[in-house]
């Protein structure tokens, strides 16, 4: 608010922290960061009521570049920190970000349970199909057969589809975007922020350094938006589209309404506090007198 009490409109630039990203020139994560600035401006999100949390990896540096409260935590645990922030302070806007290694390998368990809980946050997983910060090892989303620093003879393992995983474990909003499509990505981030429940956004975000210049071109060629009239409420549809091997289907794949963890915990609190004042320490202790 200005001195006159008139709300000043926040432009995307207002969300920039001033810290210069450490990312390589051409990194897909720049696209995600810029789309995030725009989406936040679109929704006029109050920076001081927002927390962005991350784990470790190239993409996990993102919180430092946004002028909100930020938390660059430890590897794989962004969602655990976000759980604490959102549950303890349901009034805040909470965004978690990270890469495919951070969210699907070391942090995979937390992703499953955040989806299941329908934790009321937006989680942006920047997927470059490789470990970037540790310099080019195989990741859970690296295609089978690919040669990386740690798969000299080619990747012997199948990759995981993050969107299918999120859908099957209970996320209520699942989308896929491409870092090269700013307009589309901005809209998706805004929609994910508005959704009540766990919003999972898988952004294909090429790594120029460890996947080569061609990754961007290859991805771009494979990107196909969901068809007009697509019904995101049907799980089977969503799974069919996300499984398409020769395409990267972008758009909101899945969206259903269900009580978020915040809703459930508020309900519990209401029931627990109904008709009673907050018990004092003495009252809580008194129940431990013998019952006779």
């Amino acid at each position: 608010m200005s001195a006159a009490g008139v709300k000043v409109e926040l432009k995307p630039g207002a969300y920039k922290s001033g810290l210069k990203p450490v990312w390589c020139p051409g990194c897909g994560d720049f696209g995600v960061l810029n789309a995030l600035y725009r989406a936040m401006a679109q929704l006029q999100i109050e920076p001081s009521n927002t927390v962005i949390l991350s784990g470790i990896g190239c993409s996990s540096r993102l919180p430092g570049y946004v002028k909100t409260y930020g938390f660059n935590g430890v590897h794989g645990r962004a969602l655990t920190l976000a759980t604490g922030v959102k549950v303890a302070r349901p009034d805040l806007t909470v965004i978690a970000v990270g890469g495919d290694g951070d969210g699907l390998a070391i942090g995979g368990n937390h992703l499953i349970h955040s989806c299941r809980r329908n934790l009321d946050i937006l989680y942006i997983l920047m997927d470059n199909e490789i470990y970037g910060l540790t310099k080019g090892q195989v990741a859970p989303t690296t295609p089978t057969g690919d040669k990386t620093k740690s798969t000299f003879w080619g990747n012997p393992e199948p990759s995981v589809d993050p969107c299918e995983l999120a859908i099957s474990t209970g996320a209520t909003w699942v989308a896929r975007g491409f870092s090269g499509d700013m307009k589309d990505l901005t809209e998706m981030i805004a929609a994910g922020l508005v959704h009540n429940g766990f919003s999972f956004l898988n952004v294909m975000s090429p790594c120029v350094t460890w996947r080569g210049d061609d990754q961007f071109k290859e991805m771009k060629a494979k990107v196909a938006h969901l068809p007009e009239g697509y019904d995101p409420s049907r799980r089977a549809n969503a799974v069919d589209y996300t499984r398409e091997k020769d395409k990267i289907t972008t758009g909101i794949l899945y969206e259903v309404e269900a009580p978020s963890l915040t809703d459930q915990l508020e309900n519990i609190k209401e029931r627990a506090m109904a008709g009673n004042g907050v018990p004092t320490t003495k009252e809580m202790l008194s129940r431990f007198y013998p019952k006779f």
Partner: protein, 593 residues
């Protein structure tokens, strides 16, 4: 001769109602103002298997579980055999056992000196069947028998039985009341065996009967904790259980997370968001939390972690106590990661140590580990409401001036920088597991790292100066001084007071703040004693070695009594060491003369 202090042990299988019997005995004592300490022990089985319940009831204050059981009730000798060396009978104990139990009795070891034990067979099952029509009433028969035999208050017991079966059909209650009477009647037949063991006391006001875990949970709420995240693990889960009910009642939130990594992560998140947050775990869980303890140190985020120690390493002895997480709590870390370690020494202390942990965490912006253990966390003992209060403090909030070009990690003399939280305009910052500058920006510069390490460690000075708390028992100057920590305090205190009663100059020193090390307090104490005994339940003597890193313990005059956990420390063990060292000390003095 009547007595003012009796220790009962009841042993049987899971289905024998051992725990209910012990619980009702304990509640009965508490209801008339007697001092009670109740300890349960189980095998690792989920259902069934051996279980035992030891209840000490006394007209005078008590500090330890009774070493030697005066009244032993055994439903099944095969179950008793599973507690070999853990339940020891007094020389003149009365052993009441199920007449119909045909489990082998060879090799049953009641203890080292049990020559005058009185053996009393009782047909519990038959009495239950006859009076109540079911052998399930066996434990109620037992209560009738014990209350009559040892002159325990019967009116509250009868009320307890009525309460227990209030929701059942009236026939069930009637049957159990008949069982209670049958027990009382049978007691008359064996009354002689109880000679010298009839309780004499003056009834008083009811006392609270609580476990350390229950007190830790209430203490957290007293301290203002409004977010708890935890993963179930024995023997800490009661904290989670009680808070699951109470936390929403005070307007807070609780999540059972998918693992301990998530629990500590959520606690750090909640605290970062400005809400006092806590988790509770045991050794294996603390191991999983270790990485993020480093994060809390680095990012200077308050966090309270209760570690209820059990036997280790690995899965170890999940249901039994040990003091062997000390090094893990003190040093378990990558990098130089300051934290604070507190050790409650008894059930009541679980209240004070937990509130103190929040005060320290909030004031110094550090993780604080409360090293409880199974012995104090799960035993129930009587407490007075009057002792359960503790001052509550909060974190240092930035002033309007601080929020102008806010520096979250601003250099200060104390090392403590005002901490903003989300919702505070102008207080936005990025916190970091990476080394960072005063405003929170990541850096790898040596000079900043050195400066920030110094800042983080400097905060411990304030903790040491402001929060050092210790207990001193016994004579002001002593021939023998015992240094111990945590739950060892109970038996040590009782042994010291007994020795003083005999006119021996013995004392004990029990710090509650373990780290930062209260150097001066230790140093001052050592000056008052001739010989030192360090007492602990850690096979590798973790506490003794910890003391050595900071203190010059008197050379040639320091003794260590250490052993594995799995069996609680007894007063007898401590008395024995005191005697040996006293003799040694006297011998030395003769030589010197």
């Amino acid at each position: 001769m009547p007595t003012r202090d009796l220790t009962f042990a009841i042993v049987g299988s899971g289905g024998d109602g051992v725990i209910t019997t012990g619980d009702m005995l304990a509640q009965t004592g508490a209801s008339v103002g007697l001092h009670v300490m109740k300890v349960e022990a189980y095998g690792p089985q989920i259902r069934g298997g051996e279980s035992s319940c030891t209840v000490r009831i006394s007209a005078d204050p008590i500090f330890a579980q009774g070493d030697l059981v005066q009244v032993l009730v055994v439903f099944n000798w095969a179950d008793f055999a599973q507690f070999r060396g853990e339940i020891l009978a007094a020389p003149d104990a009365i052993v009441i056992y199920e007449e119909a139990d045909d489990s082998p009795r060879e090799g049953i070891d009641l203890g080292p000196d049990t020559g005058d034990v009185r053996w009393v067979p009782v047909p519990f099952i038959e009495l239950a069947k006859e009076s109540a029509g079911t052998k399930l009433a066996k434990n109620i028969v037992t209560l009738g028998l014990l209350s009559e035999l040892f002159k325990l208050p019967q009116e509250p017991l009868e009320k307890a039985i009525r309460g227990k079966f209030a929701k059942k059909k009236p026939e069930v209650l009637e049957a159990n009341l008949r069982g209670f009477e049958a027990g009382k009647l049978h007691a008359a037949k064996i009354a002689d065996a109880a000679a010298g063991k009839r309780m004499q006391y003056t009834p008083g006001e009811p006392m609270l009967l609580m476990s350390g875990n229950e007190l830790s949970a209430v203490a957290a709420l007293h301290a203002g904790c409004r977010f708890f995240a935890g993963y179930p693990i024995t023997p800490s889960s009661e904290v989670l259980h009680l808070l699951s009910e109470l936390m929403p009642k005070v307007g807070g939130y609780l999540v059972q997370t998918e693992d301990e990594l998530s629990a500590i992560g959520a606690v750090i998140g909640g605290s970062f968001a400005g809400v006092k947050s806590m988790t509770a775990t045991s050794g294996p869980g603390l191991a999983l939390m270790t990485e993020m303890l480093g994060l809390a140190s680095m990012a200077e985020i308050p966090a309270v972690i209760i570690d209820v120690q059990r036997g280790g390493p690995s899965t170890g002895l999940p249901t039994k106590s040990e003091q062997s997480d000390l090094w893990q709590a003190l040093w378990g870390s990558h990098g130089d990661a300051p934290r604070v370690v507190l050790a409650p020494a008894d059930v009541e202390d679980c209240f004070h140590a937990t509130v103190a942990a929040f005060n320290i965490a909030e004031e110094a912006q550090v993780p604080v580990i409360v090293l409880s253990d199974q012995f104090i966390a799960q035993r129930r003992e009587t407490l007075s409401m009057l002792t359960l209060d503790h001052e509550v403090r909060g974190r240092q909030v930035p002033s309007a001036g601080d929020l102008h070009e806010y520096k979250r990690y601003k250099e200060t003399k104390s090392g403590i920088s005002p901490m903003s939280w989300p919702g505070m305009k102008g207080g936005e910052y990025q916190t970091n597991g990476l080394e960072h500058t005063e405003d929170g920006s990541p850096t790898s510069m040596f000079l900043t790292h050195e400066k920030m390490n110094a800042k983080r460690y400097r905060k411990l000075r304030l903790v040491r100066d402001k929060y050092s708390f210790y207990r001193h028992y016994g004579t002001e100057r002593a021939d023998v001084g015992i240094i111990c920590w945590g739950s060892s305090k109970g038996p040590v205190k009782e042994a010291v007071l007994r020795a003083n009663g005999r006119g021996e100059r013995v004392s004990a020193f029990v710090p509650q703040l373990l780290y930062p090390f209260p150097y001066h307090e230790f140093q001052d104490y050592i000056k008052t004693v001739r010989e030192v005994i360090v007492v602990e339940l850690s096979y590798s003597a973790q506490f003794y070695k910890y003391l050595q890193t900071f203190l010059d313990l008197p050379e040639g005059h320091t003794y260590v009594f250490k052993r594995s956990g799995g069996k609680n420390l007894t007063v007898g063990e401590v008395e024995d060491k005191i005697q040996k060292v006293l003799e040694m000390s006297a011998m030395r003095r003769e030589v010197l003369v």
